[in-house]
Symmetry: C2
Subunit: 464 residues, 2 copies
């Protein structure tokens, strides 16, 4: 079938005007936040119902055309890139909150509901949707589920996986499955819901998701603590975790802080210079909790683990302390950083971090390494800034070597080459550093069960 | 191959004396707590290492002999019953805690570690393993994972699933897989760990599991509240959930309470007779929290949702209040109850419960129905007591009809025919009431990926 004939045969399955093939649309909807792959989709389809999604999938099976799901396109692994004549299925018009269940604290969402929209809906009902990250203003629930999105509150609330009570999916064969029926307890065989979470659209499309909500946090309070070395951060985490229910435990290095201070628009936490900083957050729901936090802080100072620190006394101060951490990514983007999102178990973080530092310092002494991340869950964001004397191409060529060292070190420490950004196309060739050959074999066989013709987001997670 | 030759060929794969074929062992290890199926295994194998488990699985594939996993054998769905010449693989000698990771709060366990053993280990390290249920003194971690065990603290801590950081499994093909590597964040494709949780040993055997621990709860405090009708329990749950982090929210009927009171060894909660009772628990970590609970109680009384109530003031009182709920199952066992473990979403509980009550009352007016369960998570234990004038056989014949009504009502309310006890053999013929034909088809195909020869616990979850 010709390209034009394919498009003509797809058109009647959608509402009028909901299949786009103009150059702008192909370019916009054919990519995510990654820039390595040139978008080249066949067309962009905007279904408005589950039935239309099923019709598209059946059509794709019939014509052996690949489909790529598209949500907020804020992904960082090229999982939502259509570079090979695929039809992009964009969920922009399936964006409604369908139902709220007060006693269950659940919200039935279409996949195109934006994260922020769900957070606001929760607030309006006196509740809280706790999965939060930088792109919450444009990322969609369907994409959050596809990547099992994490973010800054994982230590307390877990990943997106924890908040999916149930969902409806259309498999690669076009079947509509209702998974788990929003139940808390349901011991009736394999929990297929879990397979679709984090599957990056390679098994099927989420067409409806029931998300759980939580009570709102009370009087969130942050502390920023300076430590004499990285190793001290671990006993600090340990001491606070034994006393408080932490909602976050982040860290950043002096180099990261220096970049933030140079902006001039964020007040410093305190005067003392320290090589590393921890930012922790908790609910100071009563004065006793706040006192417990202060006592733990003093204990950490006495032990020599903490050199200086500050605790927020107002909402404004809380926000200012968070800026020290949250502005890092945007601020260092000026230096065209090589970025990697990796994880190890929490106890292994200090040795792992030192190994990477040593390797980079020994081989590229002129590279500036900026560390930050979610230390409470073992998720580190490694950033290496481009030295001014190197061109972008020279720098990225050297980073390819760094990549290999990083992944070898991840493997040595039994960690993950992608903590929360997914595999997509950017990391698929490195998957073997984190998953065994046997495991990858089983994953491919599982994919074949749900998508025997290989039409669902092919080339993502593993090469075709 | 003859039966004897099979046994002789299996023997060298195990330590000396670790393959039993005597009648007592076959009877003991061939069944769980269900009594419907006569045990008839070929032999009982006690592996002492992962390598031995792999060897057994390879042997089973070669000789097409089915394997049945055996843990504490406290299951209630006949998932661990060997009634057809299978080899039982019992994990009694793989029962060690291998490793404790302080900063990660994780414990690496062999599958035969007993739940209570893990709870005690946690306590000795100042921590807490929160999955708890009646059989914790004999159930094993491997079995807990196989059934995704729940229990009385699910409303706060979730099911066993939430506490499995990672595990090693031997698949039905004999491959050893290390799933998730104990990471909190790991976005590298399908989370196969989740498939094995709740799979009832039909995909493979767990040979090692890393379990997460939590901080210990502080000053656990219980309230028992009497309500004028079942419907009032829902706004009570809602009111308390908005104010407190509940660790449990259970309920029982006046008929259940009457049986407990008749024992004579449990003090009454209060004098007022009520048709239904809620038992809730929370951490009274500070006086403010306890005051909040009392204020919420008063609010519920003012609204007419609660007729009377009591709050524990000591550890002893806490335990006595819990006896009102925890002794029910054992106490009513005297009446040979028909039992069913079912769930619906929380908001649907009142209408669902009324439907079942009406059906039973209309058809069997002489049947006494005793309700109790975990209302906070929608999990109801329906118990119908045998009238004295019926023989056991007559009673169970009538219960077969009740079964059909119950499952039809579960289906009408989009609930689960097995909330936390699993499917095994006792519910496999009813699976279609909770999972669609398409879903069951995918489940069977997934099983074929991990167990192509169908040797892993065949006949459980679905018929062969």
């Amino acid at each position: 079938m010709t390209r034009d004939a394919l498009i003509e045969s797809l058109k009647p399955l959608l509402d009028a005007g909901k299949l786009l093939t103009d150059a702008d649309s192909l370019d916009t909807y054919g990519k995510d936040w990654t820039k390595h792959f040139a978008p080249a989709p066949l067309a962009i389809a905007f279904p408005k119902s589950t039935e239309q999604v099923q019709a598209i999938v059946r059509w794709a099976n019939e014509h052996k055309v690949a489909l790529v799901p598209s949500g907020g396109r804020t992904g960082l692994s090229a999982a939502a890139v259509a570079a090979n004549g695929e039809v992009v299925v964009a969920f922009d018009y399936m964006n409604k909150v369908l139902e709220f269940n007060e006693f269950d604290r659940t919200v039935v969402c279409q996949p195109g509901v934006i994260t922020k929209q769900l957070q606001t809906f929760a607030e309006e009902h006196g509740l809280y949707y706790p999965v939060d990250f930088a792109s919450s203003g444009s990322s969609q629930i369907g994409g959050n589920i596809g990547t099992n999105a994490g973010g800054i509150k994982v230590i307390r609330y877990g990943m997106t996986r924890n908040w999916v009570a149930g969902m409806k999916v259309v498999t690669g064969k076009g079947d509509l499955l209702e998974l788990n029926k929003d139940l808390i307890k349901n011991a009736t065989g394999y929990d297929l819901r879990q397979l679709f979470i984090g599957a990056e659209g390679t098994l099927g499309f989420v067409v409806e998701a029931t998300m759980r909500l939580e009570r709102q946090p009370k009087n969130l309070t942050a502390m920023v603590l300076g430590t004499p070395d990285f190793d001290s951060i671990m006993p600090v985490l340990h001491a606070f975790q034994n006393k408080l229910d932490l909602t976050a435990f982040e860290f950043f290095s002096d180099k990261a802080l220096a970049k933030i201070m140079a902006r001039g628009d964020v007040p410093p936490a305190f005067e003392t210079d320290c090589p590393f900083y921890a930012l922790l957050e908790f609910e100071a729901s009563t004065e006793e909790v706040a006192n417990e936090a202060l006592a733990t802080f003093e204990h950490c100072v006495e032990q020599g683990w903490v050199l200086d620190g500050v605790m927020s006394q107002s909402e404004q101060q809380l926000q200012n302390l968070w800026k020290l951490r949250e502005y890092i990514s945007e601020t260092i983007s000026h230096w065209t950083p090589y970025k990697n999102d990796i994880s190890v178990t929490v106890g292994k973080v200090p040795a792992f971090l030192k190994d990477i530092d040593d390797i980079v310092a020994a081989n590229y002494p002129d590279f500036e390494v900026v560390w930050f991340g979610h230390i409470g869950d073992g998720n580190l964001h490694l950033n290496i800034l481009k030295p001014e004397n190197l061109t972008k191409d020279e720098f990225f060529a050297k980073c390819a070597t760094v990549n290999k060292w990083v992944f070898e070190t991840v493997q040595k420490y039994n960690g993950s080459i992608s903590a929360e950004h997914g595999v997509g196309m950017t990391k698929r060739d490195y998957l073997g550093y984190s998953r065994s050959e046997a495991e990858i074999g089983y994953m491919k066989a599982v994919k074949a069960v749900f998508d025997p013709n290989g039409i669902m987001n092919p080339g993502k997670i593993f090469a075709e």
